[in-house]
């Protein structure tokens, strides 16, 4: 199954789990499955219209994904990483 890497501040719904194996053929599918298992997770990643939130970035096997790639196919063993956009500081 694909693995979802969850940074610390998104881990309240996952009850602290940092890496979660999750069934899904697309990133959106994985997020929906995460919501089924960990209610409250989806709204951290997607807005009410199902779009990727502005400050959320997603990586697939270390490569940044375009914001319209939520429905792209992913494979068994892929790693999806969630990260915030934050340029400055």
């Amino acid at each position: 199954m694909p693995v979802l890497e969850v940074p610390s501040r998104y881990r309240v719904p996952t009850r602290g789990q940092a890496r979660v194996e999750v069934a899904g053929n697309t990133i959106r599918g994985c997020i929906v499955e995460m919501e089924n298992r960990f209610p409250g997770f989806q709204e951290l990643i997607l807005d009410g219209r199902g779009n990727q939130r502005r400050f959320v970035r997603l990586f697939l096997n270390g490569e940044a994904l375009e914001r319209d790639a939520l429905d792209s196919a992913i494979e068994q063993g892929d790693t999806v990483t969630i990260m915030a956009s934050a340029a400055g500081g």
């Binding site: 890497e5 940074p7 610390s8 501040r9 998104y10 951290l44 807005d47 939130r53 502005r54 400050f55 959320v56 970035r57 990586f59 096997n61 270390g62 490569e63 940044a64 990483t81 990260m83 915030a84 956009s85 934050a86 340029a87 400055g88 500081g89």
Partner: protein
């Protein structure tokens, strides 16, 4: 009445101790912030001048939308020839000064000359009715916090301040320019940090600028639809992005993610991950709010992002504000200082003395790496920072930045580009960001164009860097904060409505590009060439990473390609700052 039509500028000549108000030139009408600063420096400053002599120009330029009702749009560009790099520099800062200057109709403050007596100190008083230099010798040597505390006793409750600490007065190349927060007792916690512009202000004998906004109202747009546009943008942001963990808790909470992609440098960047990420992560700061107080706030009026933290000590007393990811990394992880509370102390010291936390952290790490001090020595580092204010030999070296420490200690590992320390975001996994560090006229500066994409293909580096640089130049010219994450299309909408004329997205992108061209031309005149676009050798020598090793291996021709403008593609106009 102030608005888009009535515009003024302030010229200050420190050689004659005079200040006067002039009409703002029509030719600069569409320029603000960084773009305006670059144009003024190109047109009026001898690029070959000594940065600390009379010929250099010190610029304070609010973004074009500052003082208006556009959300989070009041940022200020501080400009000049950098004593750190020898090239052009703009450092962008929050706080209230940019808002107040523009509400009064002052589009820019241009400071030239140098006092005949270097021991004298001056303040610059700015109000709706007058602009004048005042004696400020009594504030000589003051640290920023006591300085602002003293000034708030003299000026009105509405006044905002721009100031330097002892590092600026000593003209150290790592000196920052402080701006007072709009709340929180107007603490001098917002800093135009990079490039040593505090030293330029210090060389002019200018200890502070005090801006009295009086009853000045927000700048009026030409088109009343501007108010609707601002409300709509604010409403959508607050309901959506504003609810996300970032920016809700600020940049400090990104430590763990940065660590995961090997851009949380450790021990002068010999490693990309820190074993201390848990104790440095800003989530510990967030947790401290419950027991100690503090919290999140906006550093300037009208900001809807509110990503600035207020950090209290164990007794519940204010310690510092704006403790950011870059500071936790460069003064924490990069020096192997493991505890965020020690970094908070160091942040407060830097703000008080008037130092860039990125440059200072890099300088301390080079010093440690060269054997001057043990890695992880938090108390020793605090003492080292105090020595900067005391002007000891090693203190001055640290205050002059990483390259100066490298020279003093004859150390080989000095992570800089164009003499400026590489920020936390590491160019080995983030190679397109490295292209920005090499090609930006300002040296290694992540705010010039950061691309967080470790998996990017080499053929994408140059265009990704260029597009990010154009976007960030446009944002820094507008007065918007990069954390609002406006795209070029949205900036064009705000400009059009505010000015009452169509400003297309293409025009905004062209303005960003022109800003970069002005900066590059200044540097060419200053003597910069392709040989100055080299990444620090240690980035090519020291690999970091795990199964995949990251090293700087980007060919020169890919770096150079960022100078040739790519055909604009749709992503340029819709992408948001990283």
């Amino acid at each position: 009445m102030s608005g888009p039509v009535l515009n003024k500028l302030i010229r200050v000549d420190m050689s004659t101790e005079t200040a006067r108000v002039e009409e703002f030139p029509e030719a600069w009408r569409l320029l603000g912030g960084r773009a305006l600063s670059a144009r003024i420096l190109l047109e009026e400053c001898d690029a070959q001048c000594d940065p600390l002599e009379a010929e250099n120009i010190f610029v304070l330029a609010p973004g074009l939308l500052a003082g208006s009702s556009a959300p989070t749009s009041g940022r200020l560009s501080v400009g000049g020839k950098s004593p750190l790099t020898g090239g052009i520099k703009e450092a962008n800062v929050g706080g209230e000064a940019g808002q107040d200057l523009m509400k009064l109709g002052y589009r820019v403050v241009i400071v030239t000359g140098k006092p005949s007596d270097p021991e004298r100190r001056y303040g610059l008083d700015i109000s709706a009715d007058s602009v004048s230099l005042v004696p400020a010798d009594e504030h000589k040597g003051k640290w920023n916090y006591p300085l602002i505390e003293a000034l708030t006793q003299v000026y009105s409750k509405k006044a905002s301040f721009i100031s330097i600490g002892p590092a600026g007065e000593m003209q150290l190349a790592g000196a920052s320019v402080a701006c007072s927060d709009h709340s929180q007792n107007r603490h001098p916690a917002r800093h135009a940090g990079r490039g040593g512009l505090g030293a330029v202000m210090g060389s002019k004998g200018l200890k502070y600028v005090a801006i009295e906004p009086g009853s000045a109202a927000s700048r009026k747009p030409a088109d009343k639809q501007f108010f609707q546009l601002s409300k709509k943008y604010t409403r959508e942001f607050v309901a959506g992005p504003g609810q996300e963990p970032f920016p809700k808790w600020g940049t400090s909470v990104i430590c763990e993610e940065a660590n995961s992609i090997y851009t949380f440098p450790y021990k002068n960047r010999v490693e990309g991950r820190s074993p201390d990420v848990e104790t440095l992560d800003g989530m510990r700061i967030v947790e401290s709010f419950e027991t100690r107080g503090g919290g999140m706030h906006n550093c300037l009026t009208g900001c809807i992002v509110k990503c600035s933290n207020i950090v209290h000590d164990a007794n519940g007393e204010y310690k510092t504000s704006g403790l950011e990811f870059e500071t936790l990394t460069m003064l924490g992880s990069n020096c192997a200082i493991a505890n965020w509370e020690d970094v908070a102390d160091l942040d407060r010291l830097c703000d008080d003395i008037g130092l860039d936390t990125i440059e200072t952290g890099a300088a301390v790490a080079v010093y440690m790496d060269a054997g001057g001090m043990e890695f992880g020595d938090a108390e020793g580092t605090k003492q080292l920072l105090r020595e900067i204010a005391e002007g000891t030999e090693i203190g001055r070296a640290i205050g002059n930045g990483a390259a100066a420490v490298g020279r003093a200690k004859q150390h080989h590992r000095v992570p800089t580009v164009k003499g400026q320390a590489i920020p936390a975001w590491d160019p080995r996994p983030l190679k397109a960001a490295g292209v920005t560090y090499c090609t930006s006229a300002m040296g290694a500066d992540h705010t010039a164009g950061l691309i967080v994409d470790p998996g990017q293909a080499p053929e994408e580096f140059a265009q990704a860097s260029q597009e990010s640089q154009i976007l960030n130049a446009a944002v820094d010219a507008s007065g918007f904060c990069q954390f609002l994450m406006p795209n070029i299309e949205e900036i064009g909408e705000f400009y059009s409505s505010f000015l009452g004329e169509e400003v297309t997205r293409e025009a905004i992108a062209d303005m960003g590009w022109q800003c970069m061209e002005d900066e590059w031309e200044f540097n060419r005149r200053a003597g910069f060439g392709p040989e100055d676009d080299k990444m620090a050798p240690c980035m090519a020598e020291d690999a970091i990473g795990g199964e995949t090793l990251f090293v700087w291996d980007v060919p020169d021709e890919i770096v150079a390609a960022a100078y040739e403008r790519f055909e604009p593609r749709d992503e340029l106009f819709t992408a948001r700052p990283s």
